[in-house]
């Protein structure tokens, strides 16, 4: 029994989800190897090798893997699968993309977005926007699992494990990379930030999100949004916190002008401390908030910025 974790990275930066996914994988109780696939991987391979608990690192460094096309990554993982009992990836947009493809090609059911490991076969995962937690047992001999990284801890460091190059190149020709538009931001990533401040429909328009910027700068916070704000076109979808957006669990989550729909709560209710600012005292967000402030956000946001 042995586990393979597939590392998540983005243009030369290893995502913190990788370390947390390794943390989850170690709870399965078996040796953990990590596969990193992409292009120009040397620095990141060493970083992965130094994550505590990693047994060995497999590096597939080739331009065919540069854009993490699901078809090619899935075939690569499939070629390594015979050696492993458990295949584990982060439930990021990358892991969610290729992992079910791996599962189907192996004729195995995938267990998505686990938040806890009960044992090597049994896992907990949220369903119905997190309104229920299912304990599920995989009956397949091989397990294909994605991990909700926000539910697990970062691993410490170790003396670097062995790094092995994988020469196999898979190029399905089914898809090809066209372009990427990276959201430029000097703020931390939503899923990695210790503090998140999110705006909802109450922000009224995209320009008003600038009211959150000064506060975010002072707190070193990432800026998020509710589905309603994304739906209304105020901000891009990659800022969405919620059931079908990003799942966050920072030390401090500040919800501004967010009513607290089920879908939004699903994405942030595991935050350590929740602050809600809303002028409607009956907004459901106050039911999950540790500190609620019933007020007009346009009055209190400038005040909050200067008070910090």
């Amino acid at each position: 029994m042995k586990t393979l974790v597939i590392a998540d990275h983005d243009n030369g930066v290893l995502k913190p989800e990788t370390s947390k996914t390794i943390n989850a994988a170690l709870k399965l109780g078996f040796a953990v190897d990590v596969l990193i696939a992409g292009e120009n991987l040397a620095p990141m391979s060493e970083e992965v090798a130094s994550i505590a608990g990693v047994n060995g690192v497999l590096v597939a460094d080739n331009s065919e893997y540069a854009h993490q096309l699901a078809e090619n990554i899935a075939d690569l993982v499939l070629s390594l699968a015979p050696e492993y009992s458990h295949l584990v990836a982060s439930a990021t947009t990358t892991g969610k993309n290729f992992m079910p493809r791996v599962a189907a090609l192996l004729d195995v059911a995938q267990i998505s977005e686990i938040i806890d490991v009960v044992d090597g076969d049994t896992f907990k995962r949220p369903i119905y926007a997190g309104n229920a937690i299912a304990t599920v047992k995989s009956l397949d001999s091989k397990k294909v699992i994605t991990v909700r990284a926000s539910s697990f801890d970062l691993q410490g460091e170790q003396t670097a494990a062995d790094i092995t190059a994988i020469d196999a190149v898979f190029s399905s020709q089914l898809s090809s990379f066209v372009s990427v538009e990276q959201t430029e931001s000097e703020r931390p990533e939503l899923t990695a930030a210790q503090v998140v401040i999110s705006g909802g429909r109450g922000m009224q328009n995209g320009e008003n999100f600038s009211l959150l910027h000064g506060i975010a700068d002072k707190l070193g916070a990432a800026i998020g949004a509710s589905r309603a704000a994304v739906d209304a076109g105020f901000v891009p979808n990659d800022m969405q916190v919620g059931q079908t957006g990003k799942i966050v669990a920072p030390n401090l989550y500040i919800a501004v002008g967010i009513s607290g729909a089920i879908q939004h709560l699903a994405g942030m209710k595991d935050s350590k401390v929740i602050v809600a600012i809303n002028k409607d005292p009956d907004a459901p967000i106050f039911q999950v908030a540790d500190y609620g402030l019933v007020a007009d956000l346009f009055d209190v946001l400038p005040e909050l910025e200067s008070a910090l």
Partner: protein, 249 residues
Amino acid sequence: MKVLVPIKRVIDYNVKARVKADNSDVDLTNVKMAMNPFCEIAIEEAIRLKEAGIATEVVAVTIGAKASQEQLRTALALGADKAIHIETDEKLESLHVAKLLAKIVEQEAPELVILGKQSIDSDNNQTGQMLAALTGRGQGTFASNVDVANGTVNVTREVDGGLQTVALKLPAVVTTDLRLNEPRYASLPNIMKAKRKPLDVIAADSLGVDLTPRISVVEVHEPAKRSGGIIVDDVAQLVDLLKTQAKVI
């Protein structure tokens, strides 16, 4: 070009799911059901492709109990040309669903399959990717834009940190994200017309797919509840409590 749109009947978006007292599952008795929101976006996209003269036929398919024909009728009212109901009372997993859909893909030979990225009940986000794998097709998941031309579909994908565009050779599979389009409502005349559109029923167990469960649900329980907080008077008190009580800033 034929477009196949698999859809799912799920708990209504606005209804909060409750767990059964015996912790065996979520209680769906007398709960309002609807088409999964991402499936509505998939149907809308297919209809827009037809309106643009790119798609020639839109086929909606669902897998489930008899009641899910309600959602197929909705798809027909929205503009799908025909519907296929794969009937089963079993609770199926994504892999089973993908295998059954692969049989329909074999029969119908659609050049494009468009489906929701995730259903809001099981929250798996698997079926489209599995179907693509089983049918040997390329996949464009979490689409916010779909552009079909010259035997290729360009799909702009909502990824962490931005947008990625990939080109897929047709035939291909696309899964929809939130911003792809805004679904229309069915008009009354179209709802009436939908009743006369063809709806074929196929028994799930007639398709030669092994539907043996691969996952057993041990139990379903409520998530840990957050204890109620306090309402503060003003910003000064909020900042003070965050510093001295919560110690998070």
